[in-house]
Subunit: 161 residues, 4 copies
């Protein structure tokens, strides 16, 4: 069996410009209204638990691979251009991350949709890089939103609200 | 077979305090950034198309029934209180409306989550009624968010973005 | 908060004619082709873990409540008859159990669909009771299929295949 | 906008060894128990309607691309080997096809799971080719099962049962 480790996933995210602390900031902002004194360390810890799930690792590996191949022009057409331009009606990125959002129950959907629409912090910056630096983040921004939403749901489930 | 008509659904929504025009306002606000001159009539027309789907009708009938039974104290415990108090970890309302959000493809998820978090217009008012007037809208506010999200997705699909 | 316990859920299933051992038989049959020497105790243990999840408990409470209310004629029409007759196009039972199937990742979908179509063991017997004894099991048979599918997925995830 | 046509999709399926008539056979077998005199032409017509949906086209393009890249050794490791060997715990193929199964409502889940487990007709043959001819059909067999399940659901919805 091909073991995927959290370390490999964390490295891959870093190579694509995302540090865990950036995701932790988003989680903290999401949950702060419910738990005033939530710490960034606690958010990080919950993100690590999410990244330890095989289903989550597979979604991240697959999504980032498609972003990279689109960037390098290695996808067939018209798929390559659809992903490169992040066409609004291409919904496979949103379906893929359902495998992350689902893991901690349906209360993750709301947080995910909210983040995907408002694009706070690193999610918005990834969007900007797309325009400025010719990077493709069609899957990555959804993945980050889904990881943050799953971590927030995990915290909510632990705390009973 | 028991035919469910759109008229029955529209009546039921009205009895629970929701007019289609209130949902149309939400759809218009969602889509205005993409289509400046979108009319309220066009939004209404798309909502009607959504309400004409059997899957959507079944979700509305089932969700509102649970709200009403909770209000009337006719559900077993602890389910009755869980629904009456809209406990944050009860996620069945969010699962139920997936049958509405799904119908026009995965791009509906984002709009739904956003509306469920920000609760604009009638969605927020339903929340208020819950506190002031002892009504139960645990399922209804999610249903309205899902109908609006589905109608917005339908418009996006027709216009190619 | 209203705590729901596994014991309450196990009692409720028993009142509706389902013993955990019946579900364990289905899980054993599903997984036997992969792990020859899988024991019924191990299957039971995995079912208990599934029943310990809040999301699963909420789905079971809600689905069985709707079955019982339909049986007692306490649901509004046309919803009552739609559920009582288990109309083939009413898909809310299948949506509801997604909250159970989802919990252990997407590999649960296949097992669930298979069980729902073939109706082995207790699932088929529940169907029979519907005809013979005027019981309503519209939600219950899907719930049992979903619990068995989730337990089988849990076993697969532990064993790495 | 990059228009994807049904013709492009039908060509792509043929290049990967799948003719629409093979899918129609599966649909006919699924629906025959409900409609004795269902014709293969009618099944084909419903498959064409399914293949005309943008969401379906995007899922097919993306899944087949991943199969081909895995076959050609062009995916990063460990993802390449995970897909090439169709590792049982890789569930992204099953998540991807949810975007097809969802389109005609939740009654498609059952048919999809059943087909994915029993692998009738062309679905089983694709499996065989994987072993004999070093082809990768990790996504393709799920895609075919999902197209057949969606077409069967579409027929069920039209006929009111």
């Amino acid at each position: 069996m091909h073991e995927v480790s959290s370390d490999l996933i964390i490295d891959l995210l870093r190579q694509r410009g995302v540090k865990l602390i950036d995701i932790a900031d988003i989680v903290k902002n999401l949950q702060q209204q419910y738990y005033e004194d939530i710490s960034i360390e606690y958010c990080l810890d919950n993100i690590l638990k999410v990244l330890n799930k095989r289903e989550v690792q597979h979604a991240i590996l697959t999504g980032i691979e498609l972003d990279i191949l689109a960037e390098q022009g290695k996808l067939s057409q018209p798929l390559g251009n659809i992903i490169l331009r992040d066409e609004p009606l291409y919904g496979i990125d949103e379906i893929l991350v359902m495998s992350i959002v689902n893991v901690y129950g349906s209360i993750g959907f709301t947080n995910y949709g909210y983040l995907d629409k408002l694009k706070p912090g690193i999610i918005g910056q990834l969007d900007q890089h797309t325009t400025d630096k010719h990077r493709c983040h069609t899957f990555l921004d959804d993945l980050i939103g889904a990881i943050a939403a799953a971590a927030a749901s995990r915290i909510a489930h632990r705390h009973g609200k």
